[in-house]
Symmetry: C2
């Protein structure tokens, strides 16, 4: 952590001024570690919802609401970690992320919109509505972005 | 992700029934990876607040509110990953976690309470109140738990 904090401080001293995105200017390896951490937690919390949707876990509205709340936060986290200086780091990120930034942004927005719908459905929307929302997160969110911007 | 999902499914088939915590019964190495992912993201988002508190980053109420919201979610995530079967995994977790479960739970609750205060302060509480809350998260939250339950 100390190393990351120093990197952030240095970037700001060198760059002058600040923006929200400037706060995230850790070193490339730290950025990759952070965005991969977000994906690890997606696997934990969206994974449970996927199993419920597939009938492999009993449906549990309390867990759905908790996990949807966590995904509301997680779905906003990884994007500022895909900076151009991370291209050389080992990861499954494809060059299309940097070659097609508007497409990548559209995929982010599509995913985020699907999560917002899931969060809304999880607040008393009932099992059918929640499951439809989980399906949409999976296909229009995770799926479309991973297909086009992540190696399989 | 596929591997984790299979592990979850298997645990449920073997165990029968379910609870919220049962959903988290991934394999020990996955549990450690997940809880470490949470800490990586604490470093990202609480790190920025720590720098603001120390005057090393300009105070920015918008970033404070965003990060406090993220910490609200993150502060609830790691605890179900400290299961007894993770003792043998490589990590900085100390044996006191398992030898003193009530103390570990009290440290979690103390940290969580400090984050809840930070979230409240971040909603228009003003810079002085926010900085006091950041200090409390650091000392009564991160600090006390890391001192007693994590190797330095």
């Amino acid at each position: 952590m100390q190393k990351q904090l120093l990197a952030v401080g240095l970037a700001l001293v060198l760059g002058g001024g600040y923006t929200i995105s400037a706060f995230a200017q850790a070193k490339p390896d730290a950025l990759v570690r952070q965005r991969q951490a977000v994906m690890t937690l997606h696997a934990k919390y969206f994974g449970q919802l996927g199993l419920m949707n597939a009938g492999k876990l009993p449906y549990n509205a309390e867990v759905v609401a908790r996990n949807a709340g966590f995904l509301d936060a997680l779905s906003q986290m990884p994007w500022d970690g895909f900076t151009a200086d991370t291209k050389g780091e080992k990861s499954r990120a494809l060059p299309e992320i940097y070659g097609n930034p508007s497409g990548f942004k559209a995929a982010q927005d599509s995913y985020r919109a699907a999560v917002v719908k899931l969060v809304a459905a999880s607040k008393g929307g009932g099992e059918a509505a929640v499951k439809a929302a989980i399906t949409e997160v999976n296909s229009n969110g995770c799926g479309s972005c991973h297909k086009n911007f992540r190696s399989q």
